[in-house]
Symmetry: C2
Subunit: 456 residues, 2 copies
């Protein structure tokens, strides 16, 4: 792919040369809009405004679809309102609704009033849906035909209609007079069927479809599973309201992946929208990060309390304290590995509740093998370093038990949470790490009190 | 979506009824192949074999594309070889190559010998590419046309050719006599252009394309960025070799996401293929999990050594030991949050090296605010519990410093790794957690030695 920063440097030079405006426009036009979006992202605000003003309407609208919401709002806000409205009118309806939905209410109202009536009415309808549901994501402009048309009729109809209404073509949807969805025809079967054949004879009636209120994680799952390029969206009465295409789903998948990754390290995306955590008001970031830290705090105070029970042991043998981070660190790490494997497996379907027992037994065996190995190493290192074989053996045994136990807890908990219908991705990480700390310390101090205090 | 286990139960009843074989076939045929794949996954091996034998050739081939590699090989191995070859011939070339590539070499050779000559030659070529590159992923059957054909010619050509060669239709590729890629025509522009127009007048010549040796992570990035449904694959001489479609990329994205999530918790996917970690030989799982645990072991022994330097302090004041897990736990957690945010941001492009300073300052502020809050709470709880205000204050200050420092390290390290071209996702997690442990303990013990030993 392109080296964006080199390009930006070159464009900067051209921008500074007042006589080179034609060259600047040519240069900008020569890039794919997706590349241009990356270039704009890397520019300073005043630079990208200067470049944006050079683009013609078509290119500006195409670019708009690849820009981040922040840049969309920034650029449209900085240019003339008339021009901004013209650019918005050139966008597909769903993209226009996205742009307007990201603006302040009074600002988007100004634009909506300036847009052509039909366009603005359709975009207003889109804006009434929750932006995380099929209604908020779909494009309402869909090519529909009747079931008594022939293949030739449809081909002729597409020739006029698709161009005129700027329609995307993935599938042709067959509807009745009240716009109820009856069937779907792929472009492939349209192009390969005899031209005098009736549409109702080639349409498929068992249609995979979405409802306007379906949430985006469900939508992504349906796309992932059935592998269509586009799916129709209907309302409660099976009336066709729009269509969702693969490029919409791609954005959803990226967002869902981000949420999963955030949750796995204890960043809550339920209280704060995931794209507000990385920039902007730091209160949002604090709100997203504090809840699980707070639960960790409570858990670790329990760990502190466990250790406190062994005050006498600690006073008699202060050296044992220095191994606490070692045990906690390795137990936490191997436990986190098990959680990660199970949570991801449950989410991709590679692991199911039916296979829980297999995975628990398998992880236990893995934890035991790794635990024995690391326990032995710990024993040898401690013995060599402290010249105290009993201490080495006790720390090594604690390590082996701790690591085995950590894999068991890390494997078992996601299944337990899933069984009671709690999302394992949300609850697992920090809670389990703390649990492992608590139990690990109890095991360690019990071993020390039982074996070491009498020996030394 | 469907309740799979209910369906499997019902199918089981029908299977046990010898007179209901027609009903069983009807029932199976009524499901979408994607659903049927889920149903098969949930069945016992002998059950799915019984059901698979009921399907006709077309349905069996369609189902094959949705099954996991394990089930594909299992089912084909259990049925008659002739029948298996017929099913494979019905698959798209890339799917056939995937199935055969997952078999043992001698087994796939048996099938390849039985397949029609042209088909087996093309599949053999696909098998020569690395399965993680464009060559190994692409479908070589692509509809190509010449640039002097008219729109009508192409429409007529598709009508015959697409059906005959079982071709997927996304874009029409324009090539010269030596199969060099000259241009691309979307179905949309084919369907909306005047029928007597020449293809060279409507084709796009600035083509986003892939090379046979491009790796899958690059392919996914290109698809994500340019948002096409399908991209052509060419060799070094720009000869068209095949096409990659969205459903291929979906599998790549899922695999890449799994790798990212694994790496973030210290599971190496460089030594072991990511789908061999969750099941099968446990040696693979141990190999994938041990390297980062080993590095953690070394790091934690450094932490143990730091604590060892303060033996005298520990002997004088054993109570301070019990707060070690508390400090390490919260420092580790907030540090991991920062790493996760930066690594994910760098991978989606929301964070760039240019914005490093902004993010480091912002995270430092967040860490400071959260640190002050948690430090205060720690002070109050410790004071109330141990009736020792000095101890409470020292532990609280250590907590605040520890958490602030953990966010700084967690934010800074991914940028530093990125600058020297090491993938931050791979190296960050366990190393940073250990570093935070080491520095955190040093800070804590220094505070205790300096202030607390003199006070008490």
């Amino acid at each position: 792919m392109l080296n964006i920063s080199n390009i930006v440097d070159r464009l900067r030079e051209i921008m500074n040369d007042e006589d080179a405006q034609t060259q600047l426009k040519e240069e900008l036009d020569s890039y794919h809009s997706a590349d241009l979006a990356d270039i704009f992202q890397a520019m300073k605000p005043e630079e990208r405004l200067q470049c944006f003003k050079m683009l013609d309407l078509e290119k500006a609208a195409e670019l708009m679809e690849y820009l981040t919401p922040q840049l969309q709002v920034e650029l449209l806000g900085d240019i003339d309102e008339e021009l901004a409205s013209k650019i918005i009118t050139k966008l597909p309806h769903d993209a226009a609704a996205d742009v307007l939905g990201d603006m302040e209410d009074d600002e988007s109202e100004t634009y909506l009033d300036k847009l052509p009536h039909k366009f603005s009415a359709e975009v207003r309808e889109l804006l009434t849906y929750n932006e995380d549901t099929a209604g908020g994501i779909m494009n309402p402009s869909v090519l529909t035909v009747n079931c008594d048309m022939t293949v030739l009729d449809v081909l002729n109809y597409i020739r006029i209609k698709a161009e005129q209404d700027n329609l995307e073509l993935y599938y042709i949807y067959v509807v009745d007079k009240q716009n109820h969805l009856l069937g779907v025809v792929s472009l492939r079967s349209l192009l390969t069927s005899p031209i005098n054949k009736k549409i109702e004879d080639i349409m498929i009636c068992d249609i995979v479809k979405l409802h306007v209120d379906d949430y985006q994680d469900y939508i992504a799952d349906v796309f992932m599973k059935y592998q269509y390029n586009a799916l129709p969206v209907v309302d409660l009465y099976n009336r066709l309201k729009g269509m969702i295409t693969w490029d919409d789903v791609q954005d959803i998948v990226e967002e869902e992946t981000t949420e999963t990754i955030y949750q796995s390290s204890g960043i809550s995306t339920e209280l704060v929208d995931e794209d507000k955590i990385l920039s902007g008001n730091i209160l949002n970031a604090i709100k997203a990060r504090t809840p699980w830290l707070f639960i960790t705090l409570i858990g670790e105070f329990i760990a502190v309390n466990v250790a406190h029970h062994f005050d006498a042991t600690l006073s008699a043998l202060p050296i044992i304290a220095i191994f606490m981070p070692l045990l906690a660190g390795l137990g936490g790490n191997i436990g986190t590995q098990s959680i990660t494997l199970m949570v991801r497996g449950l989410s991709t379907g590679q692991v199911t509740l039916n296979s829980a027992l297999y995975h628990i037994m398998r992880e236990m065996l893995i934890g035991f093998c790794i635990g024995i190995f690391f326990g032995t190493m710990t024993t040898l290192v401690t013995w060599g370093w402290q010249h105290n074989v009993e201490l080495g053996i006790v720390v090594g045994i604690a390590m082996a038990i701790n690591m085995t136990m950590a894999t068991i807890i890390g494997t078992f908990t996601p299944f337990a949470l899933k069984t009671v219908n709690i999302d394992p991705a949300v609850a697992s990480g920090p809670v389990i790490a703390t649990t492992i700390d608590v139990i690990g310390l109890a095991v360690y101090f019990t071993l020390v009190s039982t074996f070491l205090l009498h020996v030394i």
